[in-house]
């Protein structure tokens, strides 16, 4: 009985464990089946993802910036005139070429009657042998644009071609609100729709290829790399701090802020020297193609291509310190580039009087025209050294020195030579009222053939501040400062090309890592005309205001540009 009882108890105890064991096996099998199904589903999904990744070869990213600027120009001066050869005029007048001054119908008498004040200055020896002949008294005005909205869209592309080969590209659109014509009335480099500056100037709702290049790294297992295409030659250091982004281009943004098509051969020297980020690069680009697609049928306009080459060296780039040396040379610079402008009717008043008469019937029309350079005018050297430092406490600061040298070749186009004006000489033309009259006619002789050195300093600091950062920047450019920064997207014009002083203060509110608001102002104090232009002689702004120097384009004295922008990165 006792044995039976023990057996029964043992059986009772055993039953649940056997039953439980049976349940566990079933449960495990069920779970394995479920997991197998899930794995199969996951595998199918991963296959789809892999297939998508393999086929979706371009990785897209981008940013969108909307900006409001309030622009206040002080003392915008127009001083109509030409750089005139008075010595030639005097000699020919003495020789009797312009007729008898005593005869009111003679060209010389008509000339004196038309310009009595200038004639008086001439006869009393008030002009240098070659000097500005001012046609009319300067007109000065202030221009206020209370609000100007712009939108800048940039779509970045990346693709891995092979283990050591990558493609990068960027499409960009930069427009001011309410204008998609793609052309502006020409009043400065800022209004010229052209290859090198499209990305940095408002040119309507066209999405343009700002960058497209490949990088072929570690060629043959070496430290060399090769990169060819439309270059990352804008937004370079140290201009990335004010943009609130990473380094945006390879060359110094103080010297070059211009789209180039070209080639870079780089060598990662740091792998030998142990200095982090040390790279030596030789860059080559073409700024103007003289033959293909130009406006003459039988190659009548004889110009050479414009080539640019030089060295761009990151001596240190360790994430804290950045030291860069730049030395470039632009060969056979032309008196302009290929581009599209809306023709300013005022040019016709001075340069094409017959056309001016017709244009009076269409005061609000500007014809859009493609222009191209006519003459090679010389060479330009650019050099610079820039240092930036990102401190542990979040303070970033930089200092950059820039140098340019112009080496003219003695030639000038319609608007001048390298940092020189074209010389005008007196010519006899038929007078619509009868007989002949004297007109100043442009020659191919530049007002100066001197080498000119230009200098610039650019300094700035950015400090952490509540909700973001605060920055201050200052730059100064001398009279002959001639960098290639015309694609910098400041609406007034590239602040780094300023011949004079420019100061900027800004506050960046970092909303999240992909959004920020920037509020700030730039103050420009121009000392000389033609900032950013290698063509035309820079003259003192005050001389233009006094009427002792001419400026065919508006000569701006001071500008305040207050702005607020919202940028989203995606």
């Amino acid at each position: 009985m006792r044995k039976l009882l023990i057996l029964l108890i043992a059986a009772l105890l055993a039953v649940p464990s056997v039953a439980m064991a049976a349940e566990s096996v079933d449960e495990l099998q069920r779970k394995i089946q479920e997991m197998t199904l899930e794995l199969n589903e996951l595998s199918k999904r991963v296959d789809k993802t892999e297939r998508h990744t393999a086929l979706d070869r371009i990785s897209w990213y981008g940013d969108l910036r909307v900006k409001a600027d309030t622009l206040h120009y002080k003392d915008v001066t127009r001083s109509q005139g030409v750089f005139f050869d008075f010595a030639d005029f005097g000699a020919r007048a003495m020789g009797g070429e312009f007729g008898d001054p005593g005869d009111p119908a003679s060209p010389i008498a008509k000339f004196v009657t038309a310009f009595p004040q200038q004639a008086n200055t001439f006869f009393t020896g008030g002009y240098a042998p070659q000097d500005f002949f001012i046609i009319a008294a300067p007109e000065k005005s202030d221009i206020n644009n209370d609000i100007l909205y712009t939108t800048r869209l940039r779509l970045g592309m990346k693709a891995k071609v092979w283990e050591n080969v990558n493609f990068s590209g960027r499409l960009s659109m930069y427009k001011n609100w309410g204008d998609s014509t793609g052309s502006k009335v020409f009043d400065s480099w800022n209004s010229f729709t052209m290859d090198g500056t499209n990305g940095g100037n408002t040119t309507g709702d066209w999405v343009r290829v700002e960058r497209a290049y490949f990088d072929w790294k570690d060629i043959g297992g070496s430290n060399f790399y090769l990169s060819i295409g439309r270059r990352p030659s804008t937004y370079g250091p140290p201009s990335q701090y004010r943009e609130n982004e990473m380094r945006g281009g390879t060359p110094s943004g103080h010297l070059v802020h211009f789209n180039f098509d070209g080639i870079t051969i780089g060598y990662k020297l740091g792998k030998h020297t142990g200095v982090e980020g040390q790279v030596v690069r030789f860059c080559y680009g073409q700024g103007f193609e003289s033959e293909w697609g130009n406006g003459e049928l039988f190659n009548e306009i004889d110009t050479d291509d414009v080539h640019l080459g030089g060295f761009n060296i990151d001596a240190i780039n360790d994430g804290t310190n950045f030291l860069q040396f730049t030395l470039f040379r632009a060969e056979d610079v032309t008196d302009g580039f290929k581009g599209v402008i809306a023709f300013p009717s005022q040019f016709a008043q001075q340069l094409a009087p017959t056309m001016w008469q017709d244009l009076q019937n269409f005061p609000n029309f500007n014809f859009v025209t493609r222009v191209q350079p006519s003459t090679n005018i010389g060479d330009i050297m650019l050099g610079g050294v820039g240092f930036t430092r990102e401190e542990m406490n979040g303070v970033n600061w930089f200092a950059s020195l820039g140098w340019t040298r112009t080496d003219p070749n003695g030639k000038a186009g319609m608007f001048g030579g390298l940092l020189s004006d074209p010389v005008y000489q007196a010519a006899l033309v038929p007078d619509p009222a009868g007989g002949e009259m004297i007109m100043p006619m442009v020659t191919a002789t530049p007002s100066s053939n001197d080498e000119e050195d230009g200098y610039s300093v650019y300094v700035g600091v950015q400090v952490p501040a509540p909700l973001g950062k605060f920055g201050l920047e200052y730059n100064y450019g001398s009279r002959y400062w001639t960098p290639f920064t015309q694609a910098q997207d400041d609406v007034v014009g590239s602040k780094l090309a300023t011949r004079g002083h420019a100061g900027e203060a800004y506050y960046i509110f970092d909303i999240n890592p992909n959004m920020f608001i920037k509020v700030g102002a730039i103050y420009y104090d121009y000392k000389y005309t033609g900032s950013g232009s290698p063509v035309g002689a820079p003259v003192k702004i005050e001389d233009v205001q006094d009427g002792t120097a001419a400026s065919i384009l508006p000569a701006v004295d001071e500008v305040w540009d207050g702005y607020a922008s919202l940028t989203v990165k995606f």
Partner: protein, 106 residues
């Protein structure tokens, strides 16, 4: 001008009302880079015990998940403070595969 002032004020208010909601927020990336090189590379170099890890190994969200799960373990291995881990996390987050990268050639 009044209109412009209004826009600026609105933008400032918008910025002030915005809050941060990032796991990696608050670290010092500059210190993080230094600490990463000094303390993390020994385990996370190519062929090392922990497997190679560079900032580009993961996306920003993946770095956040990584530190959620393994942050304390790494802190123990590297014998660094919680603040140091945050700095390293900020550095890796800021330079993650989906972060902004310098736009240069080569």
């Amino acid at each position: 001008m009044k209109r412009m002032t209004g826009i600026i004020l609105t933008l400032i208010l918008l910025a002030l009302c915005t809050s941060f909601a990032l796991a990696a927020e608050g670290g010092n990336p500059k210190k993080g880079k230094y600490l990463y090189k000094k303390n993390c590379k020994s385990c996370h170099a190519a062929g090392a015990e922990g497997g190679e890890l560079t900032p580009l190994s993961k996306t920003q969200a993946q770095w956040d998940r990584f530190f959620e799960k393994k942050g304390q373990a790494c802190q123990g291995h590297a014998k660094i403070s919680e603040k140091d881990v945050k700095d390293v996390q900020q550095f890796l987050f800021d330079h993650a595969a989906d972060s902004d990268q310098p736009e240069t050639c080569g």
